[in-house]
């Protein structure tokens, strides 16, 4: 059972953590943390990671290019983009919970939700930290280089100034709940400069003791605060007014923390009134600063690398020429030459994993920009978009060895559920809402296209959004077979089913006497008619939801009668047919194409991916597979970020390795001046207009998910090895730690396009077939046991 630890006084909480060793991982709030477990010196991963897990650049970011060139760090809650400019280190600091807005429960005249930064709200910056080193102007240094060590979670900058080599490391520690900047040098150099911490909402910073800090509250009552301290050796560090001055220091350590009084509890209005964020930030930086920077680093690396190491990927060998290029040169060369760069391509996947480890642990889940911002007006509020984006953000987690990072999404949905239920009950059947249930019935819960962390929705109602969220949560159960997770999500599934039970309409298909159930008026995201009944998107998602609920009820041995009822409804659900006019799987219950042929969304293909009702394995009628393939073909190969990633995943499901790979490669195209593609820092950029690009993190997760999907297909009871292995990676490669639905983890090696060895570990699964080409094996395992198979190459 999920216990809410916030009921306990903090002292008890600490004691609990200390005695049980239970990390407070599931606590999405800025609170006192358990005493970090410190690795001993002899056994610490203090050395650099291998070069293939290290990205590097030969230029920093500046204030105006942070979203394309800033390097992200984060401890799952507290994050920053770092400029790494020698003369002016700038960190744009974020806390995942620093949202404006509120419940937003006054509908607009059309029965839909306001979508603005005041009522719905927006994700915003916590503050800006700068470390100015006036003598280290970029124009005066040479040999500049910075690296992002994905495996250790450390950003390192080095350069030479007047014969002295200077180095700084930046990391965001989860165990110590701080961001650390450690400045060192060799060759007799000294650091002289200023540390400044500023809010971005007009807060006043003040020094007190050894730290400077600020604290304030939004109009919505959210309290927040941040603090920074610094210490050095060999020089002077003085806190004065709103800044910290340092002079003549041989080395310098800067420690920052901050957060809000957000609490994931609708009953308490999503606040913890006992929290004083500024004071807590001061305490955290003081406590962390009591340890050496090396100790903080070792503690952080042990924590980060444990998660990072759960998955490994090798897609082949790159050339010496490719290896000699920095990451940005390499991204450009990948497109300019057209030559595969297998190590870069694997590193792109690992970068996605790095972002997830840094951005999705113990707080709110990853929104449109994850944990990273360059201002307070992110595109689409940096919110949770429920019609593809938040789902895509988590497609990678289980596939790529980061199941624990998925919990933030689960916890979010659970915390929002009371509010979502309340809003649905009070507002969904508002007579002005074109999507209301025409039956007049109303039950369960649903959401809007956008959601915020205060239980509120934004933009338009999104009836089928509940089903898609539930299906995502369900898939996590399929990967992990975690009974605890199943119990947590069961109320969400049940409420969503209740919603659809009230909403489905009975209709008789034209030209037949067949009665079917269809979804009431809805909008196939985000195109075509606004009031279409029985859209494929809703039919597929509800069909999957009902099935998942029935399985859940069976496994939990509860709600037998409800499950039977839902099972009955499921059998009557209308499922899409192929248009005789276009040859495509229909998006609307119409033979006509009512939208854009190459529209970004693949909503009518949710049954192909992420669902798997449509399978090219003979179990699905050929005409349906052909119709889905024709529709996917018509949607085209030339979209952007998440739309390419989704297409790639669908082609991987259809075992078309060339197309799946080409779409992956399309997302690697360098983004220049805001064009679609990959920025120097590997963030995916979506072109809003000429010269204007927005960071949209979904492709950074969806694209890696596609890579894994090309290597391993899974559904409960069935694994397929290398279903869509592209020629570029065929020569040899391996993946270790790939999650498989059904409760397995797979290590797989291949050579010349064929599996050479596969090790299957059960994390709860028992029986599965393992197939490649025409070969299929059946495997039965106890949870925790593993088996290695070697005979697929023949």
């Amino acid at each position: 059972m999920h216990t809410d630890p916030s009921h306990l006084p903090r002292r008890d909480l600490l004691a609990l953590a200390a005695t049980t060793g239970v990390a407070l991982a599931g606590l999405p709030a800025f609170t006192a943390h358990a005493t970090p477990e410190r690795p001993d010196d002899t056994n610490s991963p203090s050395h650099m990671s291998s070069s293939r897990d290290t990205l590097w650049w030969q230029a920093p970011a500046d204030d105006d290019s942070m979203i394309e060139q800033g390097l992200p760090v984060g401890n799952g809650r507290l994050g920053a983009l770092a400029s790494n400019d020698p003369g002016r280190e700038l960190l744009l600091v974020t806390d995942a919970t620093l949202w404006t807005g509120n419940l937003n429960d006054t509908l607009d005249a059309d029965g839909q939700f306001p979508y603005d930064r005041d009522n719905f709200g927006s994700f915003t910056l916590l503050g800006k930290l700068t470390v100015d080193l006036p003598d280290h102007d970029l124009g005066a240094v040479s040999g500049y280089r910075r690296t992002l060590d994905l495996a250790r979670g450390v950003v390192t900058t080095s350069y030479v100034r007047s014969g002295v080599t200077y180095q700084r490391q930046i990391f965001a520690s989860r165990p110590d709940d701080v961001i650390v900047l450690h400045f060192t040098q060799s060759g007799g150099g000294r650091y002289t400069g200023t540390v400044t911490l500023e809010g971005t909402h007009g807060e006043g910073t003040h020094g007190e003791g050894t730290a400077v800090a600020f604290g304030a509250a939004f109009a919505n009552g959210l309290k927040y605060g941040a603090a920074v301290t610094a210490h050095g050796t060999g020089g002077r560090v003085t806190v004065g007014g709103s800044r910290i001055d340092f002079a003549g220091c041989k080395d310098l350590t800067v420690v920052l923390s901050g957060g809000t009084d957000y609490a994931p509890d609708a009953a308490k209005g999503f606040r913890d009134p006992s929290l004083d964020p500024e004071q807590l930030a001061r305490t955290k930086v003081r406590d962390a600063a009591a340890h050496s920077a090396d100790t903080l680093l070792r503690t952080h690396v042990a924590d980060h690398s444990a998660l990072f190491g759960q998955f490994d990927l090798a897609l082949g060998t790159s050339s010496d020429g490719q290896r000699s290029l920095d990451t940005w040169e390499r991204i450009k060369a990948r497109t300019e030459t057209g030559d595969p760069d297998p190590e870069l391509e694997a590193a792109y996947v690992q970068f996605g994993r790095y972002l997830m480890i840094s951005g999705s642990r113990g707080s709110l889940p990853l929104g449109l920009q994850g944990l990273w911002l360059d201002g307070n007006d992110p595109a689409w509020m940096g919110d949770y978009h429920t019609d593809i984006n938040i789902q895509m953000n988590y497609w990678m987690a289980d596939r790529a060895g980061l199941s624990s990072c998925f919990d933030a999404l689960t916890d979010y949905c659970l915390a929002q559920l009371p509010s979502w239920t309340d809003l649905t009950r009070r507002l969904f059947n508002d007579s002005r809402n074109r999507y209301r249930n025409s039956s007049g019935k109303n039950a369960g819960w649903t959401i809007a296209i956008s959601t915020n962390p205060y239980g509120g929705g934004g933009w338009w109602w999104h009836p089928a959004g509940n089903a898609w969220l539930c299906n995502s949560l369900w898939e996590h159960y399929e990967y992990t077979r975690s009974r605890a997770h199943l119990e947590k999500i069961y109320p969400l599934l049940k409420g969503a089913c209740e919603f659809w039970e009230a909403r489905l309409l009975t209709t008789t298909l034209p030209g037949s006497s067949r009665e079917v159930l269809i979804a009431d008026s809805d909008w196939s995201p985000e195109q075509g008619p606004l009031d279409a009944k029985g859209i494929t998107y809703a039919q597929e998602l509800v069909w999957a939801l009902f099935g998942n609920f029935c399985t859940a009820a069976t496994e939990l041995r509860c709600d037998n009668s409800a499950a039977a009822r839902i099972s009955g409804l499921r059998k009557r659900l209308y499922l899409p047919q192929v248009s005789p006019k276009t040859g495509w799987l229909e998006e609307w219950m119409s033979p006509d194409n009512l939208g854009e042929t190459t529209h970004r969304h693949l909503s009518p293909l949710v049954g192909l991916f992420p669902g798997d009702r449509i399978r090219p394995d003979g179990s699905t009628p050929d005409d349906i597979v052909a119709g889905a393939t024709a529709l996917l073909t018509a949607r085209g190969m030339n979209s952007f970020g998440w739309a390419n990633a989704w297409r790639s995943l669908c082609w991987a499901r259809l075992k078309d390795a060339d197309k799946a790979y080409q779409l992956f490669v399309n997302n690697l195209r360098p983004s220049t001046d805001g064009s679609n593609g990959t920025a120097p820092n590997l963030f995916d950029i979506y072109e809003l207009g000429p010269g204007d690009g927005a960071f949209q993190i979904d492709a950074n997760f969806g694209t890696p998910a596609a890579v894994v999907e090309m290597l391993l297909y899974s559904r409960p009871g069935h694994l397929e090895l290398l279903p869509a292995l592209p020629d570029a990676w065929a020569k040899s490669g391996s993946v270790r730690g790939a999650g498989a639905r059904g409760g397995f983890v797979v290590d797989l090696s291949w050579r010349d396009g064929k599996p050479t060895e596969v090790r299957i570990r059960s994390v709860g699964g028992r029986t599965t077939t393992v197939a490649h080409g025409g070969t299929s094996r059946s495997v039965t395992l106890r949870p925790g046991a593993s088996v290695t198979l070697r005979d697929f190459a023949r």
Partner: protein
């Protein structure tokens, strides 16, 4: 300083020799590296006019700015005796020892704050009594007293207000008046049409110029900026052809016996480069650098244009006459309206292009960074030394490398990042024509950075730069030439072979536009790697092409103008080639690409 009257004859002969040498260089191109003019080796006597680009200060930047407080009595009211004196004193105190010597009074000295002019009885400009209560000679005298040289300004033609209904007498003539020196139809001329065009077929016209020249010589001026000169100054056609004016000024100045530096402005027509070289000591290649805004300049207004506009002119610069990039407003960041990086890049381009170095800043308010930029002796030496101007050796992409081969075998190498965000910029030694190691000295930072193998790469801020002296320790790069016109190449679209006397093989491939494509087949290299491929091309304006190898997407590069359609230039682009046979393609895409003479592929990567 100069004891003997200055004679124009030796100078003209000298310049002719230089021009000839350059022309000879241009037709004997064999290796592309030599297509660029060799460093002029003719040494010019130190007292010859414009042996080096001049250095100093000009009043116009502050006059033209709306920066608070500069022009309190209306637009352009900054120009006064008091202000010129103040700047003279500051120049003498702070910058003179670094070589800055000219104090140049720009437009308006004969006009009041309402821009109403004053003329003497001979239709010659006369000091506005409010601006210059002691007259123009007194200012020059003060400038000279500080050991500096004095500059003054005039527009081309007979100013309309000086015409005086054609009644004003022309000095030293037998009754000629202003009516006798212009065209009967009173056609206007110069960049603002503010003057009547002078008719030099009429006998008194030269006398008018002589009288003006004599006046400024009598006042003691050492420098004249003649402004609004065409073709140029935004004008073309016979009406705006002021070559005769410039020739008349040259003759008139010579006749005064006083060495007066003649500088022409603005955006002079490159097609007349030979005329400007013949008659003047410098010519503005571009529009004003000033922004006419709340600062003196701004990066986007026109500072950044210079990187595109200079290359066409580079070969025309040399002792006796220089490409003038306009004022160097880098002395006070706030007033200049530029970042530190932009100011350094501005100064770097001016120095390597060997532009005159005259600042338009308020010399009484230089900030410490500005002072360090204006007084960096190593950078000044690049501008003033016996080295040729630098030329882009990579395409005019946002990241650029410019270089000049110095007489001592070293290279002056500038890295530029013209992008709006930081970027690394690399200068592979192969683009300079050698391989192995080289020593690098950082001129801005006065620091030897050490020995670098194959290349130097530095992180540059947005609009940033670095400036190095690179001393090769390796060996010359071995190249294999591939002619564009070779029959083994594939032409697509309208692409066709054309004659080109300056090109190797006397042929090139042109008509590369709107889908026109040139593919070199069978480019064989011994091993896989990135090759710095040199492209010899002809382009009368800046044009782009997508250059790719082996069917990859390639990259679009902008090729700087070579100045005209008869001059070959060369830049180097990196291409990833495979061991064995490769193709290299130039694709015009949806635009217009330069004509290609040939490519030179290194024998090793």
């Amino acid at each position: 300083m100069r004891s003997s009257p200055y004679s124009a004859m030796p100078v003209r002969t000298l310049r002719a020799a230089v021009v000839l040498a350059l022309a000879a260089g241009a037709v004997t191109v064999a290796p592309v590296a030599h297509a660029r003019p060799a460093a002029p080796t003719v040494s010019v006597a130190a007292d010859a006019p414009a042996a080096k680009p001049y250095m100093g200060w000009s009043s116009w930047s502050m006059q033209s700015s709306k920066y608070p407080g500069l022009n309190p009595d209306g637009d352009y009211s900054y120009l006064t005796e008091a202000n010129v004196t103040r700047q003279t004193d500051a120049l003498a105190a702070k910058l003179k020892k670094y070589g800055y010597e000219y104090v140049n009074i720009d437009a308006g000295w004969w006009r009041d704050n309402a821009w109403k002019p004053e003329y003497d009885q001979y239709a010659r400009q006369k000091a506005d009594p409010k601006r210059f209560p002691h007259g123009m000679k007194a200012v020059a005298d003060h400038i000279h007293a500080k050991g500096l040289k004095a500059g003054i300004y005039l527009p081309a033609g007979l100013e309309k207000e000086a015409f005086d209904d054609g009644r004003a007498p022309i000095r030293n003539t037998d009754g000629c008046t202003t009516a006798d020196i212009v065209y009967s139809d009173l056609r206007t001329t110069n960049g603002w049409d503010s003057s009547y065009k002078l008719d030099f077929s009429r006998p008194c016209t030269q006398k008018y110029i002589d009288s003006q020249a004599q006046l400024i010589a009598d006042w003691g001026y050492d420098f004249l900026k003649l402004d609004g000169v065409g073709p140029g100054s935004g004008k073309s056609g016979d009406q705006y052809d002021n070559v005769a004016d410039v020739a008349a000024w040259h003759q008139a100045i010579t006749a005064t016996g006083r060495p007066i530096h003649l500088e022409l402005s603005w955006s002079l027509d490159i097609g007349h480069a030979a005329d400007w070289q013949k008659y003047s000591q410098g010519w503005r290649i571009d529009t004003d650098v000033e922004c006419y805004c709340n600062t003196l300049a701004s990066w986007e207004n026109s500072v950044d244009d210079r990187w595109d506009d200079v290359p066409a002119w580079t070969r025309h610069a040399g002792p006796g006459g220089w490409n003038d990039l306009d004022s160097l407003d880098v002395g006070n960041g706030e007033m200049d309206g530029l970042t530190k990086a932009e100011r350094q890049s501005y100064a770097t381009l001016w120095a390597i292009a060997k532009s005159p170095l005259y600042t338009g800043d308020d010399l009484t308010r230089l900030d410490s960074y500005g002072l360090s930029l204006l007084t960096n002796k190593e950078v000044i030496a690049v501008d003033q030394g016996d080295t040729p101007p630098a030329h882009p050796i990579t395409p005019s992409d946002p990241q650029q490398v410019w270089a000049a081969k110095n007489p001592d075998g070293s290279y002056t190498v500038a890295l530029f990042n013209l992008a709006d965000r930081p970027a690394s910029v690399s200068a592979p030694w192969a683009t300079l024509g050698f391989t192995g190691r080289a020593g690098v000295r950082d001129l801005w930072n006065h620091e030897n950075l050490g020995s670098f193998k194959d290349r130097i790469t530095e992180a540059l801020p947005a609009h940033g730069s670095r400036l190095f002296t690179v001393t090769p320790h390796g060996s010359a790069l071995d190249l294999t030439a591939h002619e564009a016109e070779a029959s083994s190449n594939t032409l697509a679209g309208n692409a066709s072979v054309a004659d080109c006397s300056a090109c190797s093989g006397a042929k090139k491939v042109g008509n590369l536009y709107l889908g026109g494509k040139l593919t070199f087949n069978d480019i064989v290299v011994p091993k896989s790697g990135t090759y710095q491929v040199r492209i010899a091309y002809v382009s009368g304006d800046a044009r782009s092409a997508v250059v790719s190898a082996n069917g990859g997407a390639g990259a679009s590069h902008k090729f700087p103008s070579t100045g005209d359609w008869g001059t070959v230039g060369a830049v180097t682009v990196p291409l990833t080639l495979k061991a064995g046979s490769n193709t290299i393609t130039f694709d015009s895409g949806n635009g217009y690409a330069p004509d290609i003479d040939r490519i030179d592929v290194p024998k090793s990567s």
